[in-house]
């Protein structure tokens, strides 16, 4: 590999307001190479992709394609420079037929048809409306459309995530052929198996910086996880533990999941949530956690398996059914949970009015009491209580939880409740969740910040690709362990069950 790089991005930085999404990212792709781009949630992967494809402008840095500097300001310019991407979400306009979609991007028809056939879809009707085409096929069409323009660099973002095995295999084949033809592919995936089978090298991002470029060889996944975690690897295990890892055994599980399935995103998930427990849920983005919480809160119908409440199988057709069982869902997006134009009191009291028999006059004294004690317990700043939208983010988040404390819900499903709020409020929320558990309530707690698991949880269940990878007691659930597991890597460091086998750790070309 002595030839000059086909794509060479160096020193790329991007700030969103005061937040630095990318500090100093670099990515160098050789001709004929399949190059993996890796990084934990929030490492800056998607920002780098957006910059490369012209969706957002970089603040600084240079991007060379075939040694020439390119000022990429739009996806069209990126295409002209020879860089085409296929995103995670289908890109066909749903109300147009395939042929019209192709015309929009000036895609030559014959090569497109040929690629579609090679990707394993022999009988495509190009006059079918995109909306009527199954999702997996739409993704294949996206890929074929990109290939038909014969790009120098093809960028695939989680391309195989929504594909059935046979189609995914075809996609991997085509990617390999691209590289044989001297073209390059940037491959973004959470699946080490695919990366090991396909990629030549990997660039690892952490906190907006490129922290390493490694050759893909047996056992390299250890090295990649280390790079993704950085210094966190060493400081792990030092954190103070909550009440230990004793799982209340023998006691009736408050919430039991038996082979729960939701569409294609969640497969055969089984675990128990006990009374008096905070159970952490850890997963990379889009591994089925949304579907899990949706099914448990009655927002989505499961397509298989059972949910048991106190040992009784239940079926939730509406969130009201879950609420009646004492199961409350606090969504990650506050805008989804709050009545922004209403007062703090209305927001907290909302669940009380929900059932038909409470439609009558409200006992204002009792309501003020309940709401007041919930406000006090969560220390909500009520100076701007007339409209929730005037509260700070942290206080808004507290209101979403206070509602269910006032309603005395027995189980609270918290989806990333500490995202984007200040440190002090975060700590208050940790403390609150622990208190709830001590009172015998149960909490299911999805978090994208892995260090929180040891602050708050008794156990943590890790989900990857819609399946439970492992369940850890908090005492061993440090960031390194959880990160490894969230990429589907096995728990022990015994190399014989690692997906690629072997033992040597990857050679590193540090940048």
């Amino acid at each position: 590999m002595t030839s000059s790089p086909l794509l060479d991005a160096t020193g790329v930085a991007k700030n969103y307001g005061a937040v630095a999404a990318l500090r100093n990212a670099s990515l160098s792709v050789l001709p004929g190479e399949v190059h993996a781009l890796m990084g934990a949630n929030g490492a800056g992967k998607s920002t780098l992709v957006k910059i490369l494809t012209g969706a957002v402008p970089a603040d600084s840095g240079s991007i060379l394609i075939r040694g020439q500097s390119h000022d990429i300001r739009s996806p069209a310019q990126a295409r002209r420079a020879g860089l085409v991407s296929v995103y995670q979400e289908p890109a066909l306009i749903p109300d147009l037929d395939v042929a019209s979609n192709l015309r929009l991007t000036r895609t030559p028809l014959e090569p497109f048809r040929q690629w579609v056939r090679e990707l394993g879809v022999p009988d495509l009707d190009i006059y079918a409306t995109a909306r009527d085409i199954p999702l997996a096929i739409q993704r294949v069409l996206d890929l074929a459309r990109a290939l038909a323009i014969e790009p120098d660099v093809l960028l695939l973002d989680e391309m195989t995530a929504a594909l059935p095995a046979d189609l995914a295999e075809k996609v991997l084949d085509v990617v390999r052929r691209q590289s044989k033809a001297g073209r390059s592919v940037i491959f973004i995936s959470h699946r080490f198996l695919e990366i090991a089978a396909l990629c030549d090298r990997a660039t690892v991002l952490r906190d907006g910086e490129t922290v390493g470029v490694v050759d893909i060889e047996p056992g390299v996944e250890e090295r990649i996880v280390e790079l993704m975690l950085g210094a966190k690897m060493e400081k792990a295990r030092a954190a103070a533990l909550p009440s230990g890892d004793a799982v209340p055994s023998g006691s009736q599980a408050r919430l039991g999941l038996r082979n729960l399935r939701v569409g294609t995103r969640l497969q055969d998930v089984s675990f128990d949530l006990h009374n008096g427990e905070v159970l952490g849920v850890v997963a990379l983005e889009g591994q089925g956690q949304d579907q899990l919480f949706g099914a448990l809160s009655g927002s989505i119908r499961p397509s298989g398996g059972t949910i048991e409440v106190d040992g009784r199988p239940v079926e939730f057709a509406h969130p009201a059914d879950a609420v009646r069982e004492g199961i409350a869902y606090v969504p990650g997006d506050r805008a989804e949970a709050l009545l922004m134009q209403q007062s703090v009191q209305h927001n907290i009291a909302l669940p009380f009015s929900a059932s038909l028999r409470n439609w009558g006059p409200i006992d204002m004294r009792k309501e003020r009491q309940l709401v007041g004690s919930a406000i006090e317990r969560l220390q909500i700043d009520t100076r701007a209580q007339r409209e929730v939208q005037r509260l700070s983010g942290g206080n808004q988040q507290k209101v979403t939880i206070a509602r269910w404390i006032a309603a005395d819900a027995r189980t609270i499903l918290c989806f990333d409740p500490t995202r984007g709020i200040d440190v002090r409020t975060k700590k208050e929320i940790y403390r609150l969740l622990r208190e709830l558990a001590e009172q015998g309530k149960s909490v299911l707690f999805y978090t994208s910040e892995l260090e929180e698991v040891q602050f708050v949880c008794d156990r943590a269940v890790v989900i990857f690709g819609g399946r439970v990878v492992d369940i850890f007691p908090a005492s061993v659930a440090d960031e390194a362990t959880l990160t490894r597991a969230s990429y589907g890597l096995p728990r022990d460091e015994k190399r014989d069950i690692a997906p690629t086998g072997g033992e040597a750790s990857g050679q590193v070309n540090a940048t």
Partner: protein
């Protein structure tokens, strides 16, 4: 990240303080506007403002305010009820024809049946099938009027009559005070109480503010919506009876002219058509403002066309200005 927790103790500029004040008390600018309109009227026609004029204004504002109550409640959920005109007309017309062969109490019961049915249909359409309220209520409104025309043929020989007590209620004065207040005050109090102090009222705001959040809290949308549209229809039916007592001439387009003003009254009164925001007190003031405005334009003795143009313009201006005043961003 602790941006959200910081508080500002710096002095707030006066403009901002006034906006805050108005935003917290949205009724104040409406009251000011009402007083201004009355003053302008008094200046244009000195001496017009007397006891009789006030009683008359209230008499005509009441049916509008009640009909605007329907709009207020439905608009709080992000909806609208354009069928109120038809429903009110139907109940008035059916009562006026049935009362000839039946006891007034029975006639009133009969005339409420179509009101309930149309409300139920609206509720099912909007709440279950998620038809846009504008289309749904417009549709049932047309169907209702069609049915009423058919009904009219079957009773063509019967003739119509307005019972005395409705006339008394609609037009009568006791010691100079309109009798219609006997109906209006309790109904208005009930609406205000429902919106402020009952679980149902809370849900109207909740559903209009953020249906998804309400759903996650266990609120079942269609139940709220069906109940709401039935209540709205029944109230419209009652308005029909009051209005026919005021006008004393039942026809097939009796209450129709009040439909759009009823929407305007609610909007001027500060209820957001996007839902979640507003209240009935503002609507009452809105209805009074519209009624006074109508008198004002009549007094100006402009041609009908110019009057309408002015009426529409003023409504647009007032609404836009009012939203700017009370919106606190």
């Amino acid at each position: 990240m602790s941006l959200g927790a910081t508080s500002t103790t710096a002095p707030v500029p006066l403009r901002r303080r006034i906006k805050r004040f108005m935003s917290d008390r949205p009724l104040v600018p409406l009251l000011i506007l009402l007083v201004l309109l009355v003053l302008v009227l008094q200046i244009l026609r000195p001496g017009i403002i007397n006891e009789r004029w006030i009683a008359n204004t209230i008499k005509f504002a009441i049916p509008l305010a009640l009909l605007a109550g329907c709009q207020t409640m439905t608009m709080l959920t992000g909806g609208i009820d354009l069928s109120v005109g038809t429903v009110a007309t139907m109940s008035a017309f059916i009562m006026a024809t049935q009362v000839i062969n039946h006891d007034p109490a029975v006639a009133i019961l009969i005339c409420m049946i179509p009101a309930v049915l149309i409300g139920l249909a609206n509720g099912i359409g909007v709440g279950v099938f998620r038809v846009h309220p504008l289309i749904m209520t417009l549709g049932t409104s047309l169907i209702g009027i069609g049915c009423l025309q058919v009904y009219q043929r079957t009773v063509i020989a019967t003739g119509t009559k307005v019972p005395d007590f409705l006339g008394w209620l609609g037009t009568g004065l006791t010691y100079g005070v309109p009798n219609a207040l006997l109906l209006f005050l309790p109904v208005a109090a009930l609406i205000i109480f429902t919106l402020r102090r009952t679980g149902f009222g809370r849900l109207l705001y909740a559903v209009g503010d953020n249906e998804k959040a309400a759903r996650l809290s266990g609120v079942v949308y269609w139940k709220v919506i069906i109940a709401l549209y039935i209540i709205s229809s029944v109230l419209a039916g009652i308005v029909g009876l009051l209005y026919v007592g005021l006008i004393k001439a039942p026809s097939l387009s009796l209450v129709e002219p009040l439909v759009l003003p009823s929407v305007a009254a609610a909007v001027i009164g500060g209820t957001s058509i996007f839902g979640g925001r507003g209240g009935y007190t503002g609507t009452i003031l809105g209805a009074l403002i519209l009624t006074v405005l109508t008198t004002l334009l009549t007094v100006l003795q402009m041609p009908e066309g110019a009057r309408r143009i002015l009426f529409g313009l003023i409504i647009l201006l007032v609404t836009a200005a009012y939203l700017r005043i009370i919106e606190d961003r």
